[in-house]
């Protein structure tokens, strides 16, 4: 049967559309017209409403051992009152699916899947209702990769290793977190910059980044290396980010949660905004994409596999407890935090994120994240969209925040307001392109019928908090904010080709180093509780 969405304002940046029109959904896809054998079963009159593709969150910590550790550390937040999420509690798997769907999101990417913990990550992802999911496999501090880079085997050998890891973990791409810095920390190195050498390996962060960029490209993985740079959160680290952009050497690179790298340093040692310099660099370097990692106020918890960073941050934990775990490759660090409106540093971080959004001109290359939950809970997205679309709303927020926070930012003077098309680009079309997900992020014929319908409201936060309708694969899953038709999406992944010789090499390596069998870390689909849990996306043709 066909579903007819009539007379909505269709905003589809991929096809340059912002116009009143109709959509037809059949067989889980957008079709040009009702097929003769599938007459229209239902018509929704969307007059006065806005129609977009389902939104895509490219970076949100929603599943796996890191998130599990955070839940364990802060389980008491669940005990508080009728709205535990207001206390900064992490949502459960069920809540995650419902809350995202309610806002019109239909695909979410978990950005930090440890390859050895893939089965836990994938188990949990498969239990999130309504939405499609994906995960990035973390590499760049693992012994095997560092050995290859040390030996100069950065061609076929490293490519096969990267491809094999992505395959085994059912990942959609590769995440690199403080490359070399985490390995160096295990050797008690407490500060690590782009050209510092990892003890025992003698390789630098720059070399690791370049080597993995090459391997990912040769493997045909559509998403470029997704990089969490060195020196996250440190005053003056805008220099690190700028040098990292140069280090990309013109090759595609995605810098994640850029806000946390946009800090300058005054002569007196105070934190300043480096957002303008960084935005200029991003604008000038077309091979670079970024996501912001916007901070919003309130209690949250930082979850990161950047163990040295979290180790340093433990002294600012609020409440005063944390978990620091050293594991193979990257580990995990869980540090609760409270971004307070009265704190000028938190206010400056908030302002810097918005500066980045507003000063980077191309909405195809600046993507929308809070690095949930590190910057803020993902349920703050509607408020952020409101801030981007309404300069008056920004002014109202700025009025109530510490004045000292704005001495080094341009935010109060920025008049730019995002349009709906730019919002749709940043939250739908651009993420789909970035991950090579050609079947979504747009409303063209053949797209999967992931669709969000909003009711315009002067209160933009309200508009995006609760969609009027959300369809997932053509099935209605949200109606006026309420979940419908419980079901489970699929976990998107890529399967880059590799020479199976790497399996023999890795098997003996695992036996020697860990006393473990290599096949323990595979994630075959039949192990998970839902049938057809995985869906493969194509790799690029190299």
């Amino acid at each position: 049967m066909t579903i007819h969405l009539r007379a909505g304002r269709i905003i589809d940046p991929e096809h340059g559309r912002d116009e009143i029109g109709d959509l037809y959904l059949a067989g889980g896809r957008v079709v040009a017209a009702p097929p003769p054998d599938l007459p229209i079963r239902e018509t929704y009159d969307l007059s006065g409403r806005v129609v977009m593709a389902g939104a895509i969150d490219i970076h949100s910590h929603i599943a796996g051992e890191n998130v599990a550790a955070a839940r364990a550390l802060l389980a008491e937040r669940r005990w508080n009152g009728s709205d535990p999420l207001a206390t900064g509690a992490l949502p459960t798997l069920g809540e995650t699916g419902i809350l995202y769907a309610r806002m019109g999101f239909t695909t979410v990417v978990e950005p930090a899947m440890p390859p050895h913990g893939a089965i836990q990550t994938q188990s949990e992802l498969s239990l999130i209702p309504f939405i499609d999911r994906a995960a990035l496999a973390v590499l760049g501090n693992d012994d095997f990769a560092l050995r290859l880079i040390r030996a100069g085997e950065t061609g076929a050998a490293l490519t096969d290793y990267v491809a094999r890891t992505v395959n085994a973990a059912k990942a959609i791409g590769v995440k690199v977190i403080n490359p070399g810095g985490v390995a160096a920390f295990k050797e008690n190195v407490r500060s690590f910059n782009l050209d510092d050498e990892v003890p025992e390996y003698g390789v630098t962060s720059r070399q690791i980044i370049n080597a993995l960029q090459g391997a990912v490209a040769r493997a045909g993985i559509p998403h470029p290396v997704h990089l969490h740079c060195n020196n996250l959160g440190l005053p003056g680290n805008v220099e690190t980010a700028l040098r990292t952009i140069e280090a990309a050497e013109g090759k595609r690179l995605h810098l994640t949660h850029l806000q946390f790298y946009s800090y300058g340093l005054s002569k007196r040692g105070h934190l300043t905004s480096g957002a303008a310099r960084l935005a200029e660099a991003v604008n000038a370097n077309k091979h670079i994409t970024v996501d912001v990692g916007q901070v919003m106020f309130g209690p949250t918890v930082t979850i990161s596999a950047d163990v040295p960073r979290q180790f340093a941050a433990r002294k600012t934990a609020s409440p005063r407890k944390w978990i620091i775990s050293d594991k193979e490759g990257n580990g995990l660090g869980i540090v609760p935090y409270d971004y307070k409106e009265t704190n000028k540093v938190s206010a400056l971080q908030w302002a810097i994120g918005l500066e980045l959004f507003l000063l980077i001109g191309d909405p195809w290359r600046v993507l929308f994240t809070t690095d949930h939950p590190n910057g803020a809970h993902f349920t703050t997205y509607p408020k952020i969209i409101h801030l981007l679309m309404d300069a008056g709303e920004r002014a109202r927020w700025i009025e109530k925040l510490p004045k000292a926070a704005f001495r080094t930012t341009q935010l109060p003077d920025i008049a730019r307001e995002y349009t709906l098309t730019e919002i749709a680009t940043m939250t739908r079309a651009a993420p789909a392109r970035l991950y090579g997900l050609r079947d979504r992020g747009h409303l063209g014929v053949g797209a999967i019928a992931d669709i969000a319908v909003y009711t315009p409201d002067p209160d933009i936060s309200k508009m995006f908090s609760s969609a009027h309708l959300v369809f997932k694969d053509g099935t209605l899953i949200i109606k006026d904010g309420e979940p419908q038709n419980l079901g489970y999406g699929r976990t998107q992944h890529v399967s880059p080709a590799f020479d199976s010789q790497i399996d023999r090499t890795l098997a003996s390596y695992y036996e020697e180093r860990f006393g473990a069998r290599l096949d323990l870390f595979n994630v075959p689909a039949h192990l998970l509780s839902n049938a057809q849990v995985f869906e493969e996306q194509p790799c690029s043709v190299s």
Partner: protein
């Protein structure tokens, strides 16, 4: 979007030779499921107790959510206690694989850790065995005080009182610990109480001011299931039931206390002989296990393996999650299939 796949699972279930009984008398599976759903609908204080890998536990969790039942994990007392320890204070930890790969010094904390060391690390690669140091509860000052003493000695300026001769062994131990390149303290939740755990983490925190040190707790094989409860509910059992029911349970909130206060217990397991149902008082039992017929139960459905269902268990020896094929009679349904079928029936009966 993939619809909920229960209907596919039910279709397979119909093809198996499920053995079902009501009060000991053989009945069809359909009758058993109907009776079970009826009991669940009528129960005032139901409890679901589960054992096995993640597939069974997940199915049992869904049933507990539907029935608003307390959820218990068999054999998970230690896992839950460990989760509470992390919740109280946080701390340092590592994985067994990383410990094997990197540790140059292992500190066993408690007698159980010392005795478990060789079993836990039986696969230690040749030539990489670390130096082993010990601190145990047999220390003259007791484990908690000894750990606190070590933490004080590890700080930049140890108190002068610790320079007395009686603390010489402790000072030597701290010097060795500080010399670690990557030290690992091995401990068991079976042995450390919350104060001892806090003292251990304080010591490790001090050591990390100069060197790298972490801890490795023992995991039992229900760790994965405990974490899945956290992922699905946000808190771990049986805390949820106690909070939501606000029932004062005599003697505390142990699993046995919960079962004694329940009027219906649904026992789910993919493995035989693992569910403790000793003194269940007045509760009726629905048993969905390979040894269902041996349990005193109102409804018994014997499970096996249907070839389609695997459990994902935490393999303590390998320190990872792994596929654990459900072994047994392949003509019988798996525990998770039966529970999913019961869930569908129970939802329909409401």
């Amino acid at each position: 979007m993939t619809p909920l796949a229960l209907s596919e699972q039910i279709a397979v279930l119909d093809k198996t030779n499920a053995l079902a009984r009501l009060e000991g008398l053989s009945v069809s599976l359909d009758e058993a499921l109907s009776k079970a759903a009826e009991l669940i609908a009528k129960a005032r204080f139901p409890a679901v107790i589960a054992a096995g890998g993640l597939a069974s536990v997940n199915a049992a969790l869904e049933l507990a959510e539907h029935a608003e039942a307390c959820f218990l994990l068999a054999g998970a007392e230690a896992s839950i206690k460990e989760l509470q320890a992390w919740q109280d204070r946080g701390g340092y930890l590592t994985s067994k694989r990383e410990a094997i790969a990197r540790a140059d010094i292992v500190l066993t904390v408690g007698a159980r850790a010392a005795s478990e060391l060789s079993r836990l690390f039986s696969t230690w690669p040749a030539g990489r065995k670390p130096a082993v140091l010990e601190v145990s509860s047999e220390e003259p000052r007791g484990l908690k005080t000894e750990l606190a003493c070590l933490a004080a000695l590890a700080s930049a300026k140890p108190p002068p009182s610790l320079m007395q001769p009686s603390f010489e062994r402790a000072r030597e131990l701290v010097e060795k610990l500080k010399s670690a390149r990557f030290g690992v303290a091995l401990w068991s939740i079976h042995e450390l109480d919350s104060l001892e755990f806090a003292a251990l983490m304080a010591l490790v925190n001090k050591l990390n001011e100069e060197t790298r040190f972490t801890t490795l707790p023992f995991h039992d094989d229900t760790w994965g299931a405990s974490q899945m409860c956290l992922a699905r509910w946000g808190i771990y059992p049986p805390a949820r039931w106690v909070r939501e029911r606000a029932l004062p349970l005599p003697g505390g909130t142990s699993g046995q206390d919960v079962m004694r206060n329940s009027d219906l217990i649904v026992a789910v397991s993919s493995r035989a002989n693992v569910l403790p149902l000793p003194d269940i008082g007045r509760a009726q039992v629905i048993a969905i296990t390979p040894d269902a017929a041996q349990l005193r139960s109102a409804v018994a459905i014997e499970t096996g393996a249907a070839g389609l269902d695997f459990n994902i268990g935490y393999d303590g020896a390998a320190d990872t999650y792994t596929a654990v094929p459900v072994e047994g009679d392949s003509e019988k349904p798996s525990a998770s299939q039966v529970v999913n079928a019961l869930l569908l029936r129970a939802r329909g009966s409401r």
